[in-house]
């Protein structure tokens, strides 16, 4: 069965991209042009170069994408090696993003991957706008929330409050734990965003301090006592570092002592690490399944070559095999992907007063806010150079800084204080100035 067609590296992918189909996306336009455009113009950012990120980079590189970037702040550890297949023992200590990018480029010729060894918050918001699709391979709710807010901040609404398609920044998101995982598609303005369905990720249950201090019953209670109470009592001022083996050993020894005192079995070094670092068990196979599902969706969003997942897939391999697709619905009042938080101001309000107001506003609760207006920095808390450059704006009326436009959108980044928890956040604000002709219509307050 000799193949008559000339040899092509995308022999298999061509079947999907070059041939017309019936169960495809509305924009699908099969042909060589589509394949070439995918390679030349589509830019994908992979957030995280861990268990999911390594798989995502490989899968995307072998699914017709040639312009990839990856961002991760972590360095390689020995415990990564059972699943993060782009890393070797001799890579331990090196930045994940850099090694992952290099390894994939070595094996798949023609692919270009730019690594970014930094925190996601270190990049300007505009950095993220440069990509057509963002693929998330993260293990924390906070990081997902942040990227989600960034992607949603690009979304613009027209005068009828309908989202404008050209401003939508699609994301695919994956997550795993042991034999279980999820993959989802987020198209801001169309599907629910991460924040609309934040209830899917219930906060971690913490032990009450009085249980730890007075009535410990199991090994985890003894460990958390050593970690959260005893450490501070003994090491005044020195903060606990979970990556410091001496610190971990100390907590373990103290937990053992406490367990003996109360006659509680089961404190081990491994459990101590698990409890203190909140280790989520992880294996190669689940990461492979979830990342590949995310890659398929990325390819479909970019090319239209098939229908898409709508919009949340769960996988569970603990007892048999269960997969389920759920179509979640958007929260129309979502603060993150909705049209933006409406704030009404007098034209005399200064930028400084405005920043102070964000701390008090029950919908915002944002401290240390930096403000941008159409990509222009009005005030930046950091770095010091930018802070100094923008400081003089603080005393100017916001109305003037916004070129006396009576109604427009601002972006605020800062620390969000919600339920006694601090996290980095980004919010879109719709500012309306009072007393300007034509926009005194109070009806619109209902949309906030």
């Amino acid at each position: 069965m000799a193949d008559a067609a000339p040899p092509s590296k995308s022999r298999d992918l061509d079947k999907l991209l070059l041939r017309p189909g019936n169960l495809v996306g509305p924009t699908f336009d099969p042909g060589v042009q589509l394949r070439d455009d995918l390679q030349e113009y589509v830019r994908v950012l992979v957030v995280g170069a861990g268990g999911l990120g390594c798989e995502l980079l490989k899968d995307l590189a072998l699914s017709g994408f040639k312009n990839l970037e990856v961002i991760d702040m972590d360095r390689i550890e020995v415990t990564n090696l059972n699943r993060q297949f782009l890393f070797r023992l001799e890579d331990v200590g090196k930045p994940k993003a850099e090694v992952a990018a290099k390894r994939v480029m070595e094996r798949v010729s023609g692919v270009n991957i730019v690594p970014h060894f930094c925190r996601i918050e270190d990049k300007d918001i505009e950095f993220y706008n440069d990509f057509n699709i963002i693929a998330l391979g993260l293990d924390s709710i906070e990081a997902r929330s942040y990227i989600n807010a960034v992607a949603c901040s690009f979304l613009e609404y027209d005068s009828d409050d309908n989202p404008r398609e050209e401003t939508m920044k699609p994301m695919v998101d994956g997550g795993t734990e042991g034999f279980k995982g999820h993959a989802r598609v987020i198209v801001p303005g169309v599907t629910p965003c991460f924040e609309c369905t934040i209830w899917l990720f219930p906060p971690q249950v913490k032990f009450p301090l009085c249980t730890l201090a007075e009535t410990p019953r199991n090994a985890a209670h003894c460990i958390e006592y050593a970690h959260l109470i005893k450490w501070d009592e003994v090491h005044s001022g020195q903060s606990f570092d979970p990556d410091n083996p001496d610190h971990m050993k100390w907590v373990y020894d103290e937990a053992v002592k406490r367990a003996e005192l109360f006659g509680i079995p089961g404190v081990t070094y491994s459990l101590t690490q698990g409890v203190v670092k909140n280790i989520i068990p992880a294996i190669a196979s689940t990461n492979a399944i979830i990342s590949a599902a995310c890659t398929l969706e990325t390819l479909k969003i970019a090319s239209g070559c098939s229908k898409t997942l709508s919009n949340y897939l769960t996988y569970n391999g603990v007892e048999g095999l269960h997969t389920k697709v759920t179509e979640f619905v958007k929260d129309k009042d979502c603060l993150v992907c909705g049209p933006g938080v409406l704030i009404e101001l007098d034209t005399t309000v200064t930028l400084k007063k405005f920043i102070d107001m964000l701390e008090e506003d029950p919908k915002m609760l944002m401290t240390k806010a930096s403000i941008t207006y159409h990509g222009k920095n009005l005030y930046m808390q950091a770095p010091p150079v930018l802070e100094e450059m923008t400081r003089s704006n603080l005393e100017l009326p916001l109305y003037d800084l916004m070129d006396k436009i009576p109604k427009d959108v601002l972006h605020a980044t800062g620390t969000i204080n919600k339920d006694d928890k601090k996290s980095s956040g980004l919010r879109k604000l719709r500012v309306v100035f009072r007393g300007i002709d034509g926009v005194t219509d109070m009806d619109m307050a209902g949309g906030a």
Binding site: D12, L13, D59, N82, F85, T215, A282, A284, S285
Partner: protein, 515 residues
């Protein structure tokens, strides 16, 4: 700490030292190392399986560079098995990696005894005829077998093992075995020593809910002719009674008792006792002993598991309660062990041929035992279940996945007739579509589903796929296959039963209960 243990830390937390030891003893054979096979092995090599043997007779072509991460530009023209093997070895030097440059179909025909040396065979991208032959060989040799196939935006995974028994099924959610409605003397004695009406508020709010429920159940029984709450109204009333006993509104132990009261109402005894077979494998010997235990010492119950959930309590009460459960569990285990040894003696086996640790684990997991059986491929294909297929085909949410299952078989028939897969080459697509349609109709007829048809859309898609092995689809299929391999080898968790039909179009995949 030694490097290997640290390296495997994140998976040891799932399957433990025992599971890891089983993996490290296993020898895996892979048939065909395209992306589906390569990705399956990648996940197993990372996890540290003992050895792998790759069987593939093909050379690396240009097209392979676009879908397989285990080959690169320098591999062109070389043995694919050799290139994939050397890259996989790079991932983990603790794994013994070998390759054999031969086509699996040839090996199946000429050297069936070759397969007997392996723990498990992963057969990828095989057509129906070879699947049936290989399945026969592996069943004969008692080698576990798993099929994995990627085909355009679809694919399948199917386990084929005569019988797989699991002691440690480790379910996520399982009702605690607390025996609240049937306390044994030591538990009863413990609860009797505690006064629910204790005046000290600190003591009152640290009485474990196990004690509260046992005592309140007794109280209820004395006023209700010895029966527990059974109607919805009685259950509500019982909860009200608990609420009335709270000394303050912040008593977490009473709140827990109210939330856990359903554990008291749960029917006594066990719901699904495993069946006893005549085979004398260790598992079935222990099942026979378990059956005796339930009928005798157990009084209708299996051996106690012995662990209790965390609950509001003073340390002293909790630790003592824990000891009472553990002691009962240990006593039950010793009785079961005695029965196992006796049965072994009776059937002429060494009474100590089953390890203590195995019996202990069996005893503690007696409510969670699982048995998975799989039909032979030949049987599934020759004796289809038309009623099941029809049911699936008319289920709108899953008709695509089921349609793909049928079409995957249709393309093999097609290939046997026309010597290529539909849509494999660029010319003559229309002719391929109509031929595939005819093939599918005759297959449906043979399956006893003559009244049903597959949609034009689906048949067109299948031809469009042209037997393409897309990397991302292969990574899903290989990922699922490797996850099932791990469950089979570690004998932990429950492997899938049925045929998994993958639908990458909208991800409404389906586990078909046809085997």
């Amino acid at each position: 700490m030694a490097e290997p243990k640290t390296k495997y830390d994140r998976q040891l937390r799932i399957w433990g030292e025992q599971g890891q030891a089983a993996l490290e003893k296993a020898s895996i054979c892979l048939l065909n190392c395209g992306p589906t096979g390569s990705e399956t092995l990648k996940n197993l090599v990372l996890g540290g399986v003992g050895s792998i043997t790759i069987v593939d007779g093909s050379k690396v072509e240009f097209g392979d560079l676009g879908n397989n991460f285990m080959v690169d530009d320098s591999s062109l023209g070389q043995s694919k098995a050799k290139c994939v093997c050397s890259f996989l070895q790079e991932l983990n030097d603790a794994v013994k990696a070998k390759f054999i440059e031969e086509y699996p179909e040839a090996l199946i025909d000429t050297n069936p005894s070759f397969f007997s040396q392996f723990t498990l065979v992963v057969a990828t991208q095989l057509v129906e005829e070879s699947m049936v032959k290989l399945d026969r060989i592996c069943r004969q040799e008692n080698v576990m077998l798993i099929f994995a196939r990627s085909y355009g935006l679809t694919g399948l995974v199917r386990i084929s093992v005569k019988e797989h028994t699991v002691i440690e099924s480790k379910p996520d959610h399982f009702l605690d075995d607390l025996r609240l409605n049937n306390p044994w003397p030591e538990l009863r004695g413990f609860t009797e020593a505690i006064d629910l009406n204790v005046q000290d508020p600190v003591a009152h709010k640290h009485i474990p809910y196990v004690v509260i429920l046992v005592k309140m159940a007794d109280e209820w029984k004395t006023s209700h002719g010895g029966t527990l709450p059974s109607t919805r109204e009685q259950k509500r009333e019982f909860k009200e009674l608990l609420k009335a006993r709270m000394a303050a509104t912040d008593e977490d132990n009473y709140k827990e008792a109210i939330d856990a009261s359903f554990k008291l109402f749960a029917p006594q005894g066990i719901s699904n006792c495993a069946e006893v077979g005549s085979s004398s494998s260790d598992f079935w010997v222990m099942v026979a002993a378990l059956k005796e235990f339930i009928a005798n010492e157990g009084g209708g119950e299996v051996p106690l598991e012995g662990s209790i959930p965390d609950m509001t309590s003073s340390t002293e009460h909790y630790v003592n309660l824990q000891k009472i459960y553990q002691a009962k569990s240990e006593a039950d285990y010793l009785v079961l062990e005695e029965r196992v040894r006796n049965i072994l003696k009776k059937i002429g086996r060494d009474p100590h041929s089953i390890l203590k640790a195995t019996i202990k684990s069996f005893s503690k997991n007696a409510r969670k035992l699982k048995v998975c059986r799989y039909r032979s491929i030949e049987d599934e294909y020759n004796n289809p279940s038309p009623a099941e297929l029809q049911k699936y085909l008319t289920d709108e949410d899953y008709s695509i996945a089921v349609g793909f299952y049928i079409l995957l078989r249709a393309v093999d028939r097609y290939a046997a007739n026309f010597n290529h897969f539909p849509g494999q080459f660029d010319g003559g697509l229309d002719e391929d579509i109509s031929r595939l349609k005819t093939t599918a109709v005759s297959l449906l007829n043979d399956l006893g589903c003559s009244g049903l048809t597959l949609t034009e859309d689906l048949i067109n898609e299948m031809c469009r796929f042209g037997a393409a092995e897309l990397h991302a689809v292969a990574a899903v299929i290989g990922g699922i296959a490797s996850q099932e391999v791990i469950k089979l080898i570690t004998k932990q968790f429950v492997p899938m039963t049925g045929t998994f039909a993958f639908n990458a179009i909208d991800h409404k995949s389906r586990l078909l209960n046809l085997c």
